[in-house]
Symmetry: C2
Subunit: 498 residues, 2 copies
């Protein structure tokens, strides 16, 4: 007869092994995205498959499953964090068990092939090369939703809930509809306006090494700890962390676009601080896994709320000019400030400004919802995509690469993910609105260091890692029910300075 | 009743999983030695331990053991390479099973602590901080030798055999005694000679980026494939490879020592070519694991036999001057050639010239032999070390850091490893002697590319990876029984140009 202690030990043993696999995947992904030689991937992907299989066996073996089930029925005996962890993992286990091993493994193969097909289709600007794969992926997601639906959480809600617990179509519909009603008319007006400023300095050449030095200056200013982290280059910037002790961010440097590396440093730096500054008590648990929307709120907060603030640049701009004395000679802080806050409807989500960004997400949310609710089929997706861009942003893709094929997410089977980007921005605006009340930001900017802001964020957000529900936490920080209002007010200010 | 196919399947499944763990360790070690932030190691080493444990379980589980035993008793049903692999692994399994799980796991912990203690002791130049750990390691090695000894292979031979199959004290004694008798008197004469050349150019500053560019030029010239490999910096240069498809070499660049990066590039490049150019049929098997002495023969061949050859530099020196026009202005190729072939007895193995190098190894071999044969105890090791250096090289360490603590090997439990360094140099000399007969080296050097040499080596050596016994292979290449003669003749030429 097994005791509580036996089950607990079995669970902790499973967790330790799973974390060890995480470490391997952490480095494999990092290496693949940064320095791995192009010829290594055929061999590498085979063994990544084997590692995944072993990790999966560790999760699905009888000892682990019975330990999870036992602990899930004795939650009262566990501390708060372990309760939360067990609840999450029991939910994952139950959902996994709704699919057969064969279905899961076929799905892995599908995703891997679909990602390659997507890359080729995007390169050739031809959706039809990707369509058969996406059709199968959508079929799988529909089946998955059907199988794991419960009374309280069904259909597309199943997927939304996976990226933020409790998120559903009711919440998203209200959120996006309010944004649409308030922003779309304003964006249409802006499209026809005459530019107030000319930005001649953007035509200059900005040395890449100097951009890199300036990025590191910004990261230091924010309090990023280089003894527990590092920065390197990659085509698509990202942040990845393992247990607070090793947090890595990438950036890219283009001689003709110095703005990109500045805001990438602030964005990835925000992610990086969150990873580095969670409570060390979470290390070794699964609560180091931060929910997407909350993670994104912290990158957006540094990138946008602080990084595009006039008060910030009033203090920081002379330093930037010091790094690029020739290029920024004669460019006033006011011109620079307006440049980094331009609003222009465009086709590509990742290049979008703050105001049009949530509309890019709204479009993806609407399309995903229709796909999952079977009111749209994959073959009709490009047309629906293009019509939505025309309707909401007044722009039309010339081809699929700058339209429906621009994002990798669907190829990876990530449905329900996109809304977290917009929610993250909204959470950032709410937290920032509260921060402005509690901190004297202009004074902090004048001090030359942002560490007081980082400390405030550690206390309010970072320390909790993945142990809190994002909306609950935002409500606790702001002392009110979460709504889109702070975000809307924030965006309207951005519109007003155009 | 299990069939042959069942056992074979079980074995192949074990091997695939073991390789997947290898991939993880390959990247973990690479990362740790190159870019990992200093603060990550506490957390990382815990999970490395968990990964090791899982890898070990995969080896020792009943299915794997019974498959290995079954296949080992049905060798005639296997192809040559699988026969070789099964023989090796059966030997490893039998030896592992001679130790208890507790002993093995205590030993892992000991090694980990000993390595840290060694680093501290070396930093503080104080052997006594390391002595208790080394005493326990030596005790373990003695016990291990006792337990796994057989009639044909016993005592210290057990350890020698692990780094090169069939190597034993009889072979090593003859090898090192001949070297000692022939080299030590010559080295003593050289110690008292007057330098023929002055090397003023060595006082100059050599830009690190230019050194890096020159290293890459050399690697390209040798035929290193950068689509299946890369080069980065690390404190201690090394090469690591995974399955031909991903081969990584490091170098270090010092402004005041441009020679170091040149010969490191040639040395690590030699290792790298061997890893990249083994037969692809070996991928996925354990025969990608090349024995130390043969691996070292290929790094030494490029570093020394070719890289310190006058004919090579007669062609290559103008290019080197082109990279460093100011620093090498007025330095003749003859001066440069003599500089890179200087012989000077010194204290540190890794800085030693070609002629004194095997004497450094001889000293370690003699001490290891005495330790394992219980005619020397760890507490008396520093004294024995210093006396040996005085006796053979005429130099005396001022402290333990430049004496007995200089190498990490013993802290890692690697006894029997050192002789492979000297054997590697000897194999290199034998293979090079044969190569000179078969290839027109001056003509190849004049062609501007070394690929004809690399191709010859692929055909003679690289393709076999770890599938051949080193001495057998050298004898096949040279069409004669292996002896120290080619190596001695080669070294005597080096002495003659002093």
């Amino acid at each position: 007869m097994k005791t509580f202690e036996d089950y607990q030990k079995a669970y902790l043993d499973y967790r330790k092994r799973d974390k060890a696999f995480s470490l391997a995947f952490y480095l494999l992904e990092w290496d693949s995205e940064t320095i791995a030689p192009t010829g290594c991937f055929d061999v590498r992907s085979e063994y990544i498959g084997v590692l995944s299989q072993m990790r999966n066996e560790n999760f699905l073996k009888e000892e682990t499953q019975s330990a999870i089930c036992f602990l899930a029925s004795h939650l009262d005996k566990l501390d708060t964090n372990l309760q939360k962890e067990i609840k999450n993992i029991k939910k994952t286990l139950d959902k996994t068990n709704k699919m057969t091993q064969e279905e899961l493994s076929l799905h892995s193969v599908l995703i891997s092939k679909a990602t390659q097909a997507w890359a080729k289709a995007k390169k050739e600007k031809n959706f039809s090369l990707f369509e058969p794969y996406l059709t199968k992926i959508v079929d799988y997601e529909r089946l998955y939703c059907e199988r794991v639906s419960t009374k309280d959480c069904n259909g597309y809600d199943v997927l939304l809930d996976e990226f933020e617990e409790g998120l559903n179509q009711t919440v998203c519909d209200e959120f996006f509809t309010t944004l649409q009603h308030n922003l779309v008319p304003e964006i249409k007006k802006l499209s026809t306006r005459k530019q107030k400023y000319s930005y001649a300095f953007n035509k200059q050449t900005f040395d890449c090494q100097t951009q890199k030095d300036y990025s590191i200056h910004l990261l230091n200013k924010m309090g990023f700890d280089f003894t527990r982290g590092l920065t390197l280059e990659s085509e698509h910037p990202f942040t990845t962390g393992f247990e607070c002790a090793d947090v890595r961010i990438t950036n890219h440097y283009y001689e003709d676009n110095f703005i990109s590396s500045i805001f990438t440093a602030l964005h990835e730096g925000g992610h990086g601080l969150f990873e580095q500054q969670m409570d060390k008590k979470l290390v070794g648990t699964f609560l180091t896994q931060i929910s997407m929307s909350l993670h994104e709120s912290q990158s957006r907060l540094y990138e946008n709320c602080i990084g595009r603030d006039k008060d910030f640049w009033l203090q920081e701009y002379p330093t930037l000019q010091h790094f690029f004395p020739l290029q920024l000679k004669g460019v006033t802080v006011d011109e620079y400030f307006h440049f980094i806050n331009q609003v222009t409807p465009s086709l590509i989500r990742t290049d979008a400004d703050e105001v049009t960004y949530p509309i890019h997400i709204l479009i993806r949310y609407e399309l995903e919802k229709k796909l999952m609710n079977r009111t749209l089929e994959v073959k009709d997706l490009p047309k629906a995509w293009n019509e939505a861009y025309k309707r909401y942003l007044g722009v039309e893709p010339a081809n699929d690469a700058e339209g429906v094929l621009q994002d990798i997410h669907w190829a990876g089977g990530s449905f329900g993910y996109f809304p977290t980007y917009a929610l993250g921005s909204a959470y950032a605006a709410s937290i920032y609105t509260q921060m402005q009340k509690e901190l004297d930001l202009p004074k902090i900017y004048a001090s030359g260091s942002l560490k007081e802001i980082t400390n405030w964020l550690r206390q309010k957000v970072y320390q909790y890692g993945g142990s809190r529900n994002p909306r609950d936490l935002v409500e606790e920080i702001t002392h009110k029910k979460f709504s889109v209002d702070d975000y809307l007010m924030y965006l309207k200010k951005k519109i007003s300075i155009q």
